[in-house]
Point group: C2
């Protein structure tokens, strides 16, 4: 009989932002598969085993976990944030679709989590207070021209834009080019929030106007939120400003 | 001296999906402001007071809470899901911007939560596994032509679409019209997920192809997720199908 495969979201990193449901799933599994910084967030018992892998090996990792579940082991595949957002839940589904028929009979339990953009938004004010989108800037996963086309369309649509995977050593120029594209569509004063490690001790939140947005502020652990033309900053003097997107647009029916 | 104003997200509804951080914030406040079904999710002490209001009175509710905080009371403004997504964090910011100068000096602490689309996605598979957006379908908040323009642009961009506030007694036709608009752009087989009360005992997840999507399946407590042209369903026989959006699009750089 197959084991259960849990797909677990740890939240942004602070244990205080991980749900009891996710913690309960951790207690049920005996083998844990994930990128090592996410596995390191878990406090495991002596009978629970970690199998760490690199962050570019999602599909292989998912396949190994599914094979172990098919052998009767309760396993967990671990993501930071929410496992359904640019993370392991989709990789597990891909592996199931490509894998042997018996993998389709494995019980899959996904526990949602607080994804990075929500944690960053909470620290900045309410930038996601109205329509928004989440786009991965990684052209390891899709062609760059698909990404630029999407950026233009969502900016024209007036959506706030959360960028995941904004930059890495292997992808140093994409974020700067994304800012340049958006500068041609959005007002120069549009707030850009660089949110790193939100909710953790090494948290860093930086807000810059789009026309001066400096891509080198971001790293792999940063979620970048670019406002819409409606997004505003409330000046609070010595306190940090509140960045927010109003819930209303003039001309509503009521 | 002012009190602190906590903006709390309860998550989708199950206590198991509320973060310890949000629970800790609940323990610190003494007056709670919110729409009554969300307040009812909290277990409060005898010295903690609930002030319930209707779900159309967000700005007034935020102003009353800010006034109480300015009088030295630690208060909490409560949202379901994540307070930053179509919820009270933006209303609090609006009230601060419009209110007396001293409100800008009140400490604001927003605790993020699992927003509805993440909870629904976790139950369905991984429909938000690649680029996606969240759009409120309420034309109480913005003109209907802004909504339809946004729907067309994000569908053309190939984003998965999560619709919040899809329908209500006062807005019965908008969801059906949204489906009709999207039918003109997306394949007829595009999966549509109706996710009601995800994670709660009365949970109901229904998946229909876009060409047959029935708006009457939705109610106020439903989040509707409409796939992109990439979104697929893995048939699992007697088990419910897994709806997912692959992480890859052909033609990526690597």
């Amino acid at each position: 009989m197959s084991g259960t495969l849990y797909v677990i979201g740890t939240g942004p990193g602070s244990p205080e932002q991980m749900t009891p449901e996710a913690l309960a799933a951790v207690s049920k599994a005996t083998e844990f598969f994930g990128y090592f910084p996410y596995l390191d967030r878990l406090s495991l018992r002596g009978d629970q085993k970690k199998v760490a892998s690199d962050n570019r090996e999602e599909l292989d990792r998912a396949s190994v976990a599914l094979r172990r579940a098919s052998e009767g082991v309760d396993v967990a595949v671990v993501s930071g944030g929410d496992p359904g957002v640019f993370a392991m839940a989709a990789a597990v589904c891909e592996a199931i679709e490509q894998g042997p028929a018996e993998w389709r009979q494995i019980d899959i339990v996904v526990t949602p989590g607080v994804t990075a953009m929500l944690a960053v938004a909470a620290r900045a004010g309410a930038p996601l207070g109205h329509d928004f989108c989440a786009i991965s800037l990684s052209d390891n996963l899709k062609p760059w021209d698909v990404i630029t086309r999407r950026l233009k369309l969502v900016a024209e649509a007036g959506l706030v834009i959360a960028l995941y995977n904004p930059i890495s050593k292997a992808r140093p120029w994409q974020l700067g080019e994304a800012f340049a594209i958006l500068c041609g569509i959005l007002p120069p004063s549009t707030p850009v929030i660089f949110g790193r490690a939100a909710g953790r001790p090494d948290e860093r939140i930086v807000v810059q106007p789009l026309s001066e947005a400096d891509a080198t502020v971001a790293d792999m652990a940063t979620c970048v939120i670019i406002g819409s033309p409606e997004t505003r900053i409330i000046d609070r003097g010595e306190k940090s400003g509140l960045v927010y997107t109003p819930r209303f647009i003039a001309g509503a029916s009521k």
